[in-house]
Amino acid sequence: MVSNIHAGADALTIHNQDQVATVLRDLSEGDTAWIRHGETMISIKLLENVAFGHKIAITNISEGSVVRKYGEIIGRATKEIEAGMHVHVHNVEGIRGRGDKTAQEEQR
């Protein structure tokens, strides 16, 4: 569950198991983002531009593995993701509500 947010962070995670952080201001490639992660602050160098409200990886995530935010599974990586990369629809897919996958399976 979300708790109070400390001032001065560029991004934050919500749970200590999270592999992604939500950025609180527009960040650019090469910026060092200070991320509130639990009780500590960690820094990550951005490999891409990431807009306010979007997510960055705070750790490497291998293709096919689940991605966590709020300490819960929000999807699965469709590509290798490096720490500092933008995490969004281009490299993460949903697992639930996938009628398209059901339809593909039925065609086989």
Partner: protein, 386 residues
């Protein structure tokens, strides 16, 4: 005992508004209802697309939403206008709403003799009923009788981080005061239902919660499409939300932390006290209309991207955690909780700000949506048109 000023209805319900509602039983009556609303100030019509060529549970759902909207305690009196040959029975609808003890009148356009005569006849009735409603005065009633719907729409990443958890603080406070909270949007707990299930007060409720999510997901399977793009919507995705799971996990905090006492059907009457889940679509207007038909007095609505929506018979309080949305769409936004994100504002302070707004709106302060005349209304369908 904490109290709020409200209208006491004959059946013991309390209303924080005193609307004269004009209900078309069918799309064919919409224009007549709209003309009457335009002619008699402070009346509300609820034009809709349904009421005919419907069968079974789909027909019942349309009836239940119309009846529930009429029974909503913010409504003081009701005029029902039928075409005369449709599926929704106006007499049965009038009888159902009359169970609340409030005045209900109905007529059909075919019997009266066409639109012009129907509009004239309706204006006469509306003027007379409005004069009677205006005589009612508010009295102090227990705060514990208040029921609030919690909803999010036009979400972005700030919804899950700021506005939803802040609304959750206010929801917890109402439950602690003995009031009722209803959360809906079955689609938007997909991927988060296991978290809510842990909070269900009974095994039956837990099973029902899993059942309604499963039922919905099977519908998505039947459509053969990925939910993404429909929900999360293109705007949600632009705002940083990647999957339905992520959106859902951000959504659920808006109902606070109380136990879930039960799962109720779309438009079913919301029980008096505690937190309930209404099986309903994520679609903003359909969901809010279902909550209003269930008897909610107010809907608290969080948004990241911003939306103007209101509702026909309930005030909709718009809350945002996105600072640029509050500035950019201030004429649609009621409460700004974006200071949470800069760290200068705690969640409990944000919850207190929302609570203050709820108390003021319950006391009669108009929401931005009410000031601008937003009276959106929409009925969820579960069957084909015949």
């Amino acid at each position: 005992m904490k109290t709020i000023p409200a209208y006491m209805r004959p059946n013991g319900d309390i209303g924080i508004r005193n609307h004269l509602l004009i209900i078309p039983t069918v799309i064919c009556s919409n224009q007549v209802c709209n003309r009457i609303m335009q002619s008699v100030p402070d009346t509300v019509a609820i034009p809709h697309q349904h009421g005919c060529s419907q069968i079974g549970a789909d027909k019942d759902r349309t009836f239940d939403v119309l009846a529930g909207t009429g029974k909503n305690p913010n409504v003081g009196g009701v005029i029902i206008i039928s075409l005369g040959c449709e599926v929704v029975d106006p007499k049965r609808l009038a009888d159902e709403i009359r169970k609340t003890g409030k005045p209900v009148e109905w007529f059909d356009i075919q019997s009266v003799g066409g639109s012009v005569k129907a509009i004239g006849h309706g204006i006469e009735i509306a003027k007379r009923m409005k004069a009677e409603l205006d005589k009612l005065t508010k009295t102090d009633v227990p705060l514990s009788k208040l029921k609030i719907g919690v909803k999010c729409g036009g979400s972005d990443a700030t919804s899950g981080l700021a506005s939803n958890p802040a609304l959750g603080e206010a929801a917890d406070r109402l439950v602690a005061e003995g009031g009722g909270i209803v959360i809906g949007e079955t689609t938007e707990i997909i991927g988060a239902e296991h978290v809510l299930a842990e909070r269900c007060a009974s095994e039956t409720t837990k099973e029902k919660l899993f059942h309604i999510v499963d039922r919905f997901e099977k519908e998505v399977d039947r459509m053969g499409a990925d939910m993404r793009g429909g929900n999360p919507s293109p705007g949600n995705i632009a705002g940083g939300l990647t999957t339905i799971e992520e959106k859902s996990l951000g959504c659920i905090s808006k109902c606070g932390t109380a136990p879930i006492e039960g799962v109720i059907e779309y438009a079913e009457r919301i029980p008096e006290h505690g937190l309930y889940f209404m099986d309903s679509p994520g679609n903003d207007i359909e969901c809010v209309s279902g909550m209003a038909a269930g008897g909610a007095h107010i809907v608290c609505f969080t948004t990241g991207l911003g939306t103007p929506t209101g509702a026909a018979v309930v005030p909709v309080i718009k809350i945002t955690g996105n600072p640029s949305t509050f500035r950019h769409m201030e004429d649609n936004m009621d409460v700004d909780v974006s200071d949470i994100l800069s760290g200068s504002f705690s969640l409990s302070e944000a919850g207190a700000r929302i609570w203050q707004e709820i108390m003021e709106v319950a006391g009669g302060k108009l929401t931005k949506a009410e000031i601008l005349g937003h009276q959106e209304f929409s009925i969820n369908r579960i069957g084909p048109s015949l």
